[in-house]
Point group: C2
Chain length 196, copies 2
């Protein structure tokens, strides 16, 4: 395979976003994460927070709207999905890049992107969440289970595939055992040594 795009899907708290940024820095290519949300916001008129909730991202009640209110046609979540779909396809056409989350692995497919999934054991992830959010999270383990559940639901609904299932990715890495920098190193090595 030869791909120009790297999509990074990740369990909550596994460091997937940090890995994406570091890989992009090392390869000298852009990393799109919040930029996609801002672009969806600009094109749709919805606020960035609202889009995060409608996506795989933040806790809140909006996600459930992806599964309802369709008797009157596409709902807000569908509208956001359609805009997101076009933005990701346009970004991929612009040139090599890393895209974190937002179902980019599915939107681009295995011909166009190196599909990476980052996961880690619960202790590693709860420690990272506790460091990142401090005392504001009462129960980090519960938070990460809930966030993964939301990502899995969103991904399953819009792609028809199972989130975090090996068959959907070219490479899956445990950031807890391999380390954040270990994962960065493997992905960078793989990208730089692709066989055409």
């Amino acid at each position: 395979m030869y791909t120009r795009i790297i999509s990074i899907s990740r369990e909550f708290g596994s460091g997937g976003r940090s890995i994406g940024r570091k890989v992009a820095d090392r390869l000298g290519i852009p990393c799109y994460d919040n930029e996609i949300i801002e672009e969806i916001s600009a094109q749709s008129g919805f606020s960035a927070d609202y889009i995060r909730e409608a996506g795989e991202y933040a806790p809140g009640g909006l996600l459930t709207s992806a599964f309802s209110h369709r008797q009157y046609g596409p709902n807000n979540a569908d509208m956001i999905w359609n805009i997101q779909y076009k933005i990701i396809r346009n970004l991929a056409e612009k040139g090599p890049c890393v895209i974190v989350g937002r179902c980019a692995d599915h939107i681009l497919g295995d011909k166009e992107c190196l599909r990476v999934f980052i996961h880690a054991g619960i202790p590693f992830r709860t420690q990272r969440i506790a460091r990142q959010y401090g005392m504001s999270v009462a129960d980090p383990e519960r938070m990460l289970v809930e966030m993964d559940r939301r990502r899995a639901s969103y991904y399953g609904f819009y792609t028809g595939k199972e989130w975090g299932c090996v068959q959907n990715y070219d490479i899956c890495l445990d950031s807890g055992t391999l380390g954040i920098d270990g994962c960065v190193d493997i992905i960078t090595h793989l990208y730089e040594n692709q066989r055409t």
Copy 2:
């Protein structure tokens, strides 16, 4: 993490065994596959074919015995498991090596081995099976689904974990998209660049 052992679990037809042999050759360390079966045979008195059937390996009726006849104590499959367990632990103590299959990832655990899972899409695997077994296999796709089911059952029964589930492995690779040599390259690179 720093490990001396590489365990390779694999979907049937994904080329995991070839990858194991090539990785071992490149690193200049032994690769254990059939050697384990022969050693179990020597220690247990069962034939190699019987052991293959009792393990994750070949088609046949014996596998089902792993799930039955326990009212009279451990059955043959349990006896083979116990011998296999000790052999794999002894091999790991002897020095760096690659171990293909036989639940080595579970027997050694994440502290002691780099746990690799190799998978690939059905078309890639059916082509490999057809090349390997020729006309002797009437329906390669059915064969690989059946073999994966057997491996999953065996693994699940003796480890209590789900076979092929990302959380049980440090790295999962799609040999269909990355190529056999691409997988060999990544595993070798990872092993040689481990962070202590």
